[in-house]
Structure formats: structure tokens, C-alpha cells
Amino acid sequence: MSERVLSRAVGLLSLATVAVLWECAARYGLVNRVLLPPPSAIAAALRDLIADGDVLRPLLHTVYLFVIGYGVACILGIAVGLWMGCSPFADGLLEPLVELLRPIPKSALVPALFLFLGIGMATMVTIIAFAAVFPVLINTYQGVRGIDPVLLETARTFRCSRWTTLRAVILPAAMPAILTGMKVALSLGIVLAILAEMLAGLDGLGFVILDTQRAFQTQQMYAWIAVLAAFGAGLSLLFDKIEQIAVPWRGR
């Protein structure tokens, strides 16, 4: 048996064991069924959610929020990071502001932003973007700063235009750092999206998880958490694929 097959088999066996133990514990009353329903009940609840199509609205709400917020954060973070990295003027202008805003635990800003901007999609997107922008920005900046000066000199020797230098030299060289920042921003963005949905209660996975908990519908609650976990795992896999395409030279 190859190493890979063996590890997969043992892994599946291990997960299956946990599920069976949990099922037995719940069935024979070792744990309170209301608090921790057996996996079979959760699976049934999950199947109902998917079969009815109920899963779509909250999921799409979260996806929509996250994609916009994260997209804005990446574009803004890379643009400002590049600008600050390349232009001493921009660096001096924005550095104090960035240093001031960056260390704020973004979760603390959620109620503040709701107060300021009102409760709605715009606020939630702002929160996600605000939380996710800093890792991207800082990493882009450091990526640009870390570029070998010889590379830049070479570009100048070949009389590359500023645009060409940016596109052909600076961006590819800073790409690994940018992607690292984007990866951190990814998990931070999901955390803030869920928190914002919980505190604002419009819709989305964060809302339904809290809503089912408040109604003590624990089977549905765990089913929704499973949906959220799948969403998180899917995003992370997607990101790894994109990373492989964008930076093929960075081995895994």
C-alpha cells in the first residue's frame, strides 16, 4: 500500500470512529441529545436544508458579502501597498494612518461601524474590507520593499517605462508576499463576515447559526456550521489552486 493511500485510509477510519462514538454517546444518553444531537440527525437536517434549497439564501448572502468585501480589500490593499512601496511621498503620507488603524482588533469596530454607517450590506462589506485590507497592504508593501535593488536598476538600464517596471518587475517579485497577505486576509475576512452577520442579523450563515441556537434547534445549528465549514474549506482550496497558478515557482 502506498503511503498516500494508507494515510487516507487511516484518516477516514479515524473520522468514522469519531462519528460512531459520537452517535453512540448521543443515542445511549451519555450526552444530552438536545445539546449534542447524533451525527445522523445532523446529517438528516443537512440533507433537508439542501433538498429544500433552504441552504442557498444564507449561503449566497455570505458568499456575496464576502466576495465583495474581500475583493475590495485585495484591490485596495495591493494598490495602496504598491503606491506606498514605490512612492516615498505616499509612504510618508499614509504610514501614520495605517499604523494607527492596523492594530485595532477589527471585531471591536463592528458595533462602532454599525452606529456610524447604519446596519446594512454597505456596512458589512466595509467591515470585511477594512479587516482584510491590512494584511494585503502590509505584505504588498513589504514585498515591494524587499525587491532586490539590482532588479530595479536593471529595469532602469533597459529604460523600461514606470508602468512596465511595475507590471513586469515589481508585481511578479512581490507576488508571493502579496499572496501570503491575501491568505491571511481570507480567514480574517470570513471571521468578520460571520461576526457582522451575527451582530446585524439580516441574513447569512452567521445569522442562521445564531438564530437556530436562540431557538434551540441544535440539529439545524450544527448543519449550518457544517455548511459554513464546507464554505471555508472550499475557499481555502480554491485559494491554493489560484496560488499554484499565480506563483508556480513557489513549491509546496
Partner: protein, 275 residues
């Protein structure tokens, strides 16, 4: 790796060769722009609140926020809340990092442990921290047990994964050398594997530092009755937004100092990490 602060020492770009004095002056004048920008934004905040542009009781002038901050600091209330928040952050951080390193070493050095446990960790990992709070409240209640558990779980994953990667990346030659010299397994782990994996572990712990405070505030907000996270919500309900913003500023300063402290500690403790 991730949350490193902008080096305050601006590296002179090769395009701008200038005399030292002139450069330092230039740098200061550039930073002056930035400070002016911050001041301008604060003035805008003050003016917008005073002139009622926002037309909301929830938008206090920045001067009121600073007064509330000062009052909170002088009366000791904010410091007390901060201390309780930091106590939770620190406990969760230490437990999460400890478990992350221990499990990372175990799974990194033993493939059976890795086969059995890694899938379980992988299944749990993509669940964002706020989502595990509602089910956990049903088991752990709303006190420190819940909050510290959630914080440690959030700190655990980056430390664990980095430790695992660090152990996997240890040079085989090193291990073989240790074996050739008949170094005991325990000694190999302590004096070969651990130091070699340390830079990765440190990077994981740095990521965890950033996460710890964010998650502490989340846990205090969702299952609140203590700490700055709860205070923020409480002040929102008590119609005292200036006190709420003061607490946010207090957390921002804490976050900044924490990040600095980690960078300094790292430079001291792992001198070979380099920049």
C-alpha cells in the same frame, strides 16, 4: 510573515541618493504629511459631529471621545476591563500555542499520529471562530471557560500547522547525524528538531498574537458580561457612544503595543531568525 509592522526606518530607495542629513529631513517632512493627514481626519470628525452632519446621537465629537478615554483611564475602569480582557487573551494564547506546539511535534515526528489526528484537525479548522461560540455556550457556559477555550482554539491552528511544517522541513542530514551519534530520541527532539522548527513556530505564534485579541473581543461581545468587548456592547446600549469609541481606542493601543512586544521578544529570543 504576516502582521509585521511597517519598519519605521524607511529604506532609502536607490533612486534617491542624498546626503544623510537631507534624507532624514526629507523623511521627517514626509511623515509630517502623514501626521497632518491624521490630524485633518480628526478635525473632520470633530467638525462633522459638532455641526451635526451625521445627525445621529451615535456620532460623538472626537474631543468627547478623548475626554471619555481620559476619564476611563483615570477612574481605572478601562484599565480594569483591559486587564480582564488581557488575562483571557493571555491564557487562551498560552494554552493554544502550547497545545499547537505539542501536537505539532507529535504529529510531525510520528506518522501514525499524523494519519489519525490530522484529518480531525482539518475538519475543524475551516470553522470561523464566531461560529463555534453559539454551540459552545451550551456546554461551557458564558464564563471564562468558554472564552479561553475559543481563544486557544483560534491560536492553536496557526501554531499547530506551522509547527508541523517546521518539523517536516527539518534537514534530514541533521536527523541522520543525530542518529549516527546515537543521540536519544528525546534529545533529538529537544536539541535538533525543536530549534530547527523554531522560526516556523515563531511565525505561527506571531499570527496567533494577532488573532488572539480579535477573538477575545468577539467572544466577549457574543457571550458577554465582562471585559472590553462586552463594555463596547454595553455602552452602545447605554447610549454612551463616546465611551464605546474610547474603549475601541484603548483596544487599538493595546493591539499596537502587543504587536511591538512580540517583535521585540522574537528578536531577543530567536536571534537567528533575522529579518
Amino acid at each position: 510573515m504576516t502582521d509585521r509592522s511597517i519598519p519605521s526606518q524607511v529604506v532609502p530607495s536607490p533612486a534617491a541618493p542624498a546626503a544623510d542629513g537631507a534624507r532624514s529631513w526629507l523623511r521627517h517632512s514626509r511623515r509630517l504629511n502623514g501626521v497632518l493627514l491624521v490630524v485633518a481626519l480628526l478635525v473632520l470628525w470633530e467638525v462633522s459631529a459638532r455641526l451635526g452632519w451625521a445627525n445621529s446621537a451615535n456620532w460623538p465629537p472626537v474631543s468627547a471621545v478623548f475626554v471619555a478615554l481620559l476619564q476611563g483611564l483615570i477612574s481605572g475602569e478601562l484599565l480594569q476591563l483591559l486587564a480582564s480582557t488581557l488575562m483571557r487573551t493571555a491564557s487562551g494564547y498560552v494554552i493554544g500555542c502550547g497545545a499547537g506546539v505539542a501536537l505539532g511535534l507529535l504529529l510531525g515526528t510520528n506518522r501514525w499520529a499524523r494519519y489519525v489526528l490530522k484529518p480531525i484537525v482539518e475538519v475543524l479548522r475551516p470553522i470561523p471562530a464566531p461560529a463555534i461560540v453559539p454551540p459552545l455556550i451550551l456546554f461551557l457556559g458564558v464564563d471564562n471557560a468558554l472564552k479561553i477555550f475559543v481563544i486557544s482554539l483560534a491560536c492553536f491552528f496557526p501554531v499547530f500547522l506551522n509547527t508541523l511544517a517546521g518539523v517536516a522541513g527539518v534537514d534530514d542530514v541533521l536527523l541522520q547525524t543525530a542518529r549516527t551519534f546515537r543521540v536519544s530520541a528525546r534529545k533529538t527532539l529537544l536539541s535538533v528538531v525543536l530549534p530547527a522548527a523554531l522560526p516556523m513556530i515563531a511565525a505561527g505564534m506571531r499570527t496567533a498574537t494577532g488573532i488572539a485579541l480579535v477573538v477575545t473581543v468577539i467572544a466577549e461581545m457574543i457571550a458577554g458580561s465582562a471585559g472590553l468587548g462586552y463594555y463596547i456592547i454595553q455602552m452602545q446600549y447605554a447610549l454612551r457612544p463616546e465611551a464605546m469609541y474610547a474603549a475601541v481606542i484603548c483596544l487599538a493601543i493595546t493591539g499596537y503595543l502587543l504587536n511591538r512586544a512580540v517583535l521585540i521578544a522574537e528578536a531577543r529570543l530567536i536571534p537567528w531568525l533575522g529579518k
